[in-house]
Symmetry: C2
Subunit: 378 residues, 2 copies
């Protein structure tokens, strides 16, 4: 029969982090609960949606938690509702006491709230990942890689493998991260500081976005453990499990061109704003494209919607080299690409009107490359 | 054929204000457009949803507008789309030119956007209100009255008159404002500084909420003109028309009790937080009520949901006088009431468990009274 008292705000924060793995609309009703596990060491909050699982540990030793554990046990509570109740409590501390089997009383100030829980035995077991030597990455760096690639993954389930991001470590320190939805591709390469065991995994892009939300910037490093069909990201207090996607990721290296006929360097903000104007009108056209015209060193964007109107504008450039070209594409792909860039300038390189073009940052030496497929128009 | 240039941000702000009267889902398609009227004096932007109409005037003399009018005319443009286009323009000024009948070109920086408009003759005429002596009110005061009453109006169309707020001026300066949905009532009375013609109108609460959004706090006073079935709120640049509700507003004076058996003074914030906790659980009960118990000078709140759990808490009070009482009601009504109060303390007065109770601010001498009907429980 659980009994503990804790700082309300810290408890609430931990609950909200755990909640990111919990969907209130899960097909398996028990997964809408949070599991609260109280041991002598502290409290573990567990949430899962079947794909992602989060374990959040509040240590007895954490002074901010003001944790006083009187009696141990486990219980399941409806996550959303329980969080609302905790956040409504009047005092800075709360007392959590199981008064009879699966029934708890929260006391805070003069308020006393009794809630019905469920038997913790009903909760599915999270598959343990056997401790091996983890890969250790800076949280910031991993979140940056995710931000640069995950957006390019597919959101369509027609080719499930493309909804993931391909992470490959080779030669013990060469990390390649790539995502594509077959219309555009984003690839980041970097050399790790320390040697590590090679791996080749496809992580669901949705899990990676949750990872970025859960691992806040104050968590300096993250340990990464691999198992057959799972990956575990672990910090001091948080264990974040996600299933991996099964199947072979397509060979993307052969898609990346190396010789170009036209190369332009743009200011990222200018180009993005220009594409946002173009998109306002292109979304009212049949093929949804903007036409980029490179002629005598001048670059201009054009959209013509018979119903709504036209955009014609010259885009400022830093440098234009190579052949004249007219190419059409979906401006949303270019806007997404530019958003993922952390640089002020971008270099875009073209082969022809029907071949994919590449984007690379123009003012950093990072190995970050994006690819966008044009649309054939008449 | 219109031609003018203008400061983009000021134009955008005026468009967004006018947009508040425009619904993109209007059953009359022409009402999804904004009408732009260019005269020698300036530009008028007009929007309407059939209930509310807004005319927003940008004067030639307004220096912030940087308005340069070269040629006059009228045109209709799809409001949402036009606003998106204007806000995407790159430069601080924009040039608006009609190039052929109902086709305009916006030029800003190196961007040139051509848009198709519609013939302004298609736009319905807004009924003029003949100038008479207006009632003049401080904008702040009128918005305060709206905030204190409009929330209590009904949102159900079963008794349309109750979806409005009843404004009555009698004896040339006694203003009474009242709204009720038949479960709760809110009434504000005040004495105007200047004499004015008496009136008795019912204004849709939805229109009043829009009024509060449109008339920002920098507009000091508002002139109010009455016509048969319309009312006009006017400031220097904005004319806000709304239809009135037809029919007789019920006599609410007879509902307001004057003798009470129990009176309690609470801290508003404490009581509201207590009711918010109660509501978390009461919303999972059959009748959705909280039970307030007054016994020997101690006030406590109780909810019991057989499925979810219980709340029991003592509520701090400043003063309790009169008889013991147990009364049940919907906590949402009390929460709404407390939100409408601008005071730190509230006095709640009861007659019995089955008669409406009143709320008045305890630390101001404003004539502001709210009424909530209890729910009979067993």
């Amino acid at each position: 029969m659980i009994h503990f008292s804790i700082n309300k705000n810290l408890f609430l924060q931990a609950l909200n982090t755990t909640k990111r793995a919990i969907s209130s609309k899960n097909a398996i009703p028990i997964l809408s609960t949070v599991k609260i596990d109280v041991t002598n060491e502290g409290i573990t909050l567990i949430g899962s949606n079947g794909q992602i699982s989060i374990e959040n540990f509040i240590s007895q030793k954490n002074e901010d938690a003001g944790l006083l554990i009187t009696s141990l046990g486990s219980i399941l509570l409806e996550a959303s509702f329980f969080i609302n109740v905790v956040s409504s409590l009047p005092d800075v501390t709360l007392d959590f006491k199981e008064i009879e089997q699966n029934q708890i009383v929260l006391t805070s100030g003069k308020s006393e709230i009794t809630l019905k829980g469920k038997d913790s035995e009903q909760y599915p077991r999270i598959q343990e990942i056997s401790a091996s030597t983890p890969l250790i990455l800076e949280t910031k760096l991993l979140k940056k890689i995710i931000n640069e690639t995950a957006f390019a993954a597919s959101t369509q389930e027609s080719r499930p493998i493309l909804t993931g991001v391909h992470f490959v470590l080779s030669q013990h320190k060469e990390l390649k991260t790539v995502a594509t939805d077959s219309h555009r591709l984003s690839q980041k390469k970097l050399t790790l500081e320390k040697n590590s065991d090679d791996f080749d995994v496809v992580i669901p892009s949705r899990s990676l976005r949750e990872f970025s939300a859960v691992f806040t910037d104050d968590i300096e490093t993250v340990e990464i453990f691999f198992a057959n069909n799972q990956i575990l990201f672990r910090s001091e207090n948080i264990s974040f499990y996600t299933r991996l996607l099964e199947g072979n990721y397509p060979d993307t290296d052969r898609l990346i061109p190396t010789d170009f006929n036209t190369t332009i360097t743009f200011n990222v903000v200018n180009l993005r704003q220009s594409m946002e104007r173009a998109r306002l009108l292109s979304s009212a056209t049949q093929n949804g494209t903007v036409k980029l015209e490179i002629k005598d060193g001048v670059v201009s964007a054009h959209v013509h919607s018979p119903e709504v109107g036209k955009v014609n504008e010259e885009i400022d450039t830093d440098q234009v080299t190579g052949e004249d070209l007219t190419i059409s594409f979906n401006p949303t792909y270019l806007i997404d690409s530019l958003k993922a860039l952390n640089s002020e300038k971008v270099t875009i390189s073209f082969i022809s009107a029907v071949r994919p073009f590449t984007l690379v940052p123009a003012d950093t030496d990072e190995d970050f490359m994006q690819l966008i497929t044009p649309v054939r128009t008449n």
